[in-house]
């Protein structure tokens, strides 16, 4: 979230699209209710289903799953052609005036530089025109046809209300009503928040769904303000934290990234990431990359990391390609993976195309499960009748199942969607012989280390030198680890302006990332968490809920990254002269008397940079401003374009009916053998989509008695028209089939899933909750991901769970 849960109370309009907060995040959704009750805020829900969020909305618009970019592209067109934008904001704080390279082009759905064999782009034309001064050329008059504003206007002019309605199946008047409500927040004293979740991410064009939403918010000046923002409602209690800590194949902590094979030179690796400002007077905060990187290496390898060995740069593994979950299961399926460790992750249930995942696991030599619960993955080799029909005798995988603690049995911190790190405390011992995750990881690691110590082996240096200064080496404590990622001074850290002044003494915890140095004098395992545990103590454990400004900031409750800031980009809530656009919702302002920015939040800005210096609010971008034109940051193009889901009920992309290459996302990676696993509408005519219920949490709560009682049995939801067509009655058992397999479930016939008019014909949707499996207290059921396709978003490889093709029949 750019903003945070409580901040939703400050909004005038809520758009829930690609999410269902009332059911999936009920206690956060309360702040929508609060805004409705106390600010007369209104709620719009755009969703393929009439969800419980929709049930309490002021306006609901249906949409065909997988067509969000068409809808939002239509909103952009509406805002631009009706001039409903925040003029000063977009002119000053975005790239509206930046000129794009003349070579950049877009023809019938494909951007310049496409290679159809590789299904990827050469992005060299996706950039700015650069001036002799080394800065981007701009046209403040916005008249140049190559300026981002003019190019964006031309790009989205094609998304007319008629086109949107025909692609999305949203009635035209409903679409226009939503546009009109959204447009009202272009006024400087009005704002909208967008709340989204997996309904936007789980598509082959998921990242661009979110980008298009962010573009709408930027046009309206709704980023950086109280009650505004792009608010990702994350799906697990610490999915934010593990992302922040870089537990993804290509990441290091704090959104630093691992080098590629070609990046053999350490200096070049840093320079590429420490972008220099692209406009005069901009901060470009990533210029500090080396300070974060060196401090990270010092945290991991201590004295072994020296200037001479480039702080152990060569010890980091280098990437020849992405190793995301889908790629790893593909490799496993090809017999290239021998071992796999699942720590609290149940891929048999949560990865797409169960038959491929199950077959891949069976090719492993060893599988290690670390979990509080008996997961389906841990028993992938066991015959569970129709729900997991395998022959154990044929599966040669050795499996270890190690019991771990749950939340109630450990101390530690979790990062909520609000980016707040909250400490929790242990209430009881775990059952039986279960151990904490830290003890389990240490148990494995220390034995591996011993083997290398005694017998040597492949490149043991990073293992033997890994810092391990724990009072109980076999059980590193949460306190020690939290202090390590928060960071400390290894030598006295002095003020760069006055080197006689010591800011932090050697051995002390740092106050924040501003104190990090690139000379090896600081150690910090995750720069964005820096300051979470300072000499003041564990700030994550703070419990002062006072809200002196009355807008819900509670700065002394726990600790938010970065720097305890609660609303990102909050400088953009003020006009160029430093005055809040809406004084009734003031987050920060420039105080000329003290020469500082300040207010209800920690400024997301250089705190002493006066407005007249012209530094812009988006300090993490080298441009200093927000980007509509994504340059080379996205896989499938600088402007989001509508592509059909990989499996679509339409034969072509209505935006580009004659270009087969532009039917589905041209940059989405598909493994060779998987093309044959995609279904066509003649056999699988209905749109399948998966989702969660308010009574269950993923595949966990089927193990909890209360939840198992209130939602005991697998079901699917279909509309009345489809039920009638197929002769299915409420309560009948049905078989839902995709090209990859089938599930059997009880049919719920409901008005909440409706038939849509798409491209002149009727399109039906089959809705499927995901929560069942063959372990736990609920009635055994099929794993819903039996049905889903093995393809992901072109940027993140997040699987396309939200839009695929199925057929349905009465059993």
């Amino acid at each position: 979230m750019t903003n945070h849960w409580v901040d939703i109370k400050n909004t005038d309009l809520v758009l829930i699209m690609g999410g269902n907060a009332a059911e999936a995040h009920p206690c956060g959704f309360k702040w929508v209710t609060e805004a409705k009750a106390h600010r007369k805020a209104r709620l719009i829900v755009v969703d393929p289903r009439f969800t419980r969020s929709a049930a309490v909305s002021d306006y609901y618009a249906p949409i065909r799953a997988g067509t969000d970019i068409a809808f939002l592209g239509g909103v952009i067109n509406y805002l631009l052609s009706n001039d409903k934008i925040h003029h000063e904001y977009v002119k000053t704080y975005t790239d509206f005036s930046f000129l794009v390279k003349d070579e950049f082009a877009f023809n019938d759905g494909i951007f310049s530089g496409y290679n159809p064999e590789k299904r990827s782009y050469d992005k060299s034309t996706w950039g700015y025109q650069m001036g002799a001064d080394g800065y981007v050329v701009t046209d403040p008059t916005l008249q140049n046809p190559r300026c981002v504003y003019q190019m964006m206007k031309a790009h989205y002019a094609r998304y007319t209300p008629d086109v949107v309605s025909s692609i999305c199946g949203t009635p035209k008047e409903a679409f226009l009503k939503v546009c009109e409500m959204i447009a009202g927040t272009a006024a400087p004293n009005k704002t909208m928040t967008i709340m989204y979740a997996l309904g936007w991410t789980q598509h082959s064009q998921g990242s661009q769904n979110i980008r298009t939403g962010a573009m709408v918010q930027l046009l309206l000046g709704n980023i950086g303000v109280a009650g505004g923002g792009m608010n990702a409602l994350r799906g697990h209690s610490n999915i934010q934290g593990l992302t922040d800590l870089g537990l993804l194949s290509n990441l290091l902590p704090g959104y630093m990234s691992l080098p590629n094979d070609a990046e053999q030179d350490y200096t070049a690796y840093v320079e590429k990431r420490a972008s220099k400002p692209l406009r005069p007077g901009q901060l470009s905060y990533w210029q500090n990359y080396n300070k974060f990187f060196v401090s990270n290496m010092k945290a991991w390898w201590g004295d072994a990391a020296t200037a001479e060995n480039n702080w152990c740069y060569d010890w980091l593994p280098k990437l020849d390609k992405g190793y995301d979950l889908l790629q790893v299961f593909e490799n496993m399926n090809q017999g290239k993976v021998n071992g796999y460790i699942c720590q609290g992750f149940n891929p048999l249930a949560s990865a797409p195309c169960k038959v491929k995942v199950s077959g891949s696991l069976a090719k492993l030599k060893y599988l290690v499960i670390i979990d509080p619960l008996a997961t389906e993955t841990s028993e992938f080799w066991q015959n569970h009748g129709e729900y997991n029909d395998v022959d154990p005798a044929k599966i040669q995988t050795e499996v270890f199942r190690l019991p771990s603690t749950c939340f109630a049995e450990e101390d530690g911190s979790l990062v909520s969607s609000s980016r707040v790190l909250q400490w929790h405390w242990k209430a009881a011992e775990p059952p039986g012989d279960a151990k904490g995750d830290q003890e389990i990881m240490a148990g494995i690691f220390l034995r591996v280390r011993d083997l290398y110590k005694k017998g040597g082996g492949a490149f043991p240096d990073p293992i033997l030198n890994l810092t391990w200064k724990h009072r109980q080496p076999e059980a590193p404590s949460p306190e020690e680890l939290a202090k390590e990622f928060s960071g400390k001074a290894l030598k006295d850290v002095t003020d760069p302006k006055d080197t006689a002044k010591v800011l932090v003494k050697a051995g002390e915890q740092l106050n924040g990332f501003a104190e990090l140095r690139d000379d090896g004098s600081t150690s910090c395992g995750c720069w964005i968490f820096s300051g979470a545990w300072s000499e003041k103590g564990n700030l994550m454990a703070r419990r002062d809920n006072s809200d002196p400004y009355g807008i819900g900031q509670t700065l002394n409750w726990a600790f938010a990254w970065p720097a305890n800031r609660r609303v990102l980009y909050n400088r953009a809530s003020c006009d160029p002269s430093g005055k809040p656009y809406d004084p009734t919702r003031k987050l920060i302002a420039w105080d000329a008397a003290s020469g500082k920015w300040g207010g209800a939040d920690i400024p997301d800005f250089k705190p002493d940079s006066p407005p007249e210096d012209g530094m812009n609010p988006f300090i993490m971008n080298p441009e200093g401003v927000a980007r509509f034109f994504a340059v080379d940051k996205m896989a499938e193009g600088p402007f989001p374009e509508h592509y059909e889901p990989m499996e679509s009920p339409l034969a072509n992309n209505p935006m580009h009916p004659k270009n087969e290459m532009a039917r589905a996302n041209p940059a989405a990676r598909v493994f060779k053998e998987d093309w044959a696993s995609f279904g066509k509408p003649d056999q699988f005519p209905y749109v399948g989509t998966t989702y969660r219920l308010t009574e269950h949490f993923h595949f966990w709560t089927k193990h909890a008695r209360l939840n198992a009682i209130i939602q005991p049995e697998q079901f699917v939801e279909i509309g009345e028209d489809l039920a009638k067509e197929k002769g299915i009655k409420d309560g009948d058992h049905v078989r839902v089939r995709s090209k990859r397999g089938f599930i059997v479930a009880v049919a719920v016939v409901t008005k909440r899933v409706r038939t849509l008019d798409v491209e002149g014909r009727k399109v039906h949707t089959v809705g499927m909750p995901i929560h069942w499996g063959f372990m736990g207290l609920t009635k055994n059921g099929y794993i819903t991901n039996t049905l889903t396709p093995f393809v992901g978003d072109a940027n993140t490889q997040t699987p396309e769970f939200k839009a695929f093709l199925v057929n349905i029949e009465k059993v």
Binding site: P26, N238, D324, E398, F407, T798
Partner: protein
């Protein structure tokens, strides 16, 4: 004849004609009222965070036992934390069932091992499990570690063993796991944020 309330019920239950005893003026003495003690009054309260979605609701966990060494805690109630600025004491239908998650019969209680081709789990000690896993990992790493690629570039990666990390585990676990995975040269490494 004085009878206590309890004796009176015993007499009543004893049999024939007892229902008429009251009618004969044979009634018990004054009832001694006792308010049932508030169940949570003698429990230990611990502050925690709901492990489900990312709203990060504060929860209060109530357990029997006072954290003395010889009095192992037993969690008997979990509710929303009223001091918490986000959930203000509330919990949703998922969070309301947290107690049943903690005490689920699906909780694993001891390390288990499934041999190749076997139809069942067998118990294994922690030490044996760690030792065997470490051996499998080292053997695989030694055999398949790539120090240099075909072009002779230093790459130091190990991609024949992978790992999925838990996004309900703490930052401290996540940090330790990240550090260990990269020290081994692992790249086939993700968490639930990927899906």
């Amino acid at each position: 004849m004085q009878v206590t309330r309890r004796q009176f019920f015993k007499i009543c239950a004893a049999g024939v004609g007892s229902s008429s005893l009251v009618a004969l003026g044979f009634a018990p003495g004054e009832a001694l009222a006792e308010v049932r003690a508030f169940k949570l009054a003698r429990t230990t309260e611990t502050r925690n965070t709901c492990p489900y979605c990312s709203v990060g609701c504060g929860v209060l966990i109530y357990s029997l036992g006072d954290k003395a060494k010889n009095a192992p805690g037993e969690i008997m109630h979990i509710e929303g934390d009223p001091d918490h600025p986000v959930n203000r004491g509330t919990l949703c239908p998922k969070g309301a069932g947290l107690l049943d998650f903690v005490h689920s019969p699906g909780r694993l209680t001891q390390p288990e091992y499934r041999a190749p081709g076997s139809k069942e789990w067998t118990p294994i000690s922690w030490d044996d499990a760690f030792t065997r896993i470490a051996k499998l990992m080292k053997d695989d790493r030694d055999k398949n570690f790539i120090a240099k690629n075909d072009k002779g570039e230093t790459v130091n990666r190990w991609v024949s063993t992978g790992m999925l990390a838990a996004s309900a585990s703490s930052n401290e676990t996540g940090y330790l796991t990240q550090k260990i995975a990269r020290s081994l040269g692992m790249l086939a490494f993700d968490n639930q944020a990927r899906v």
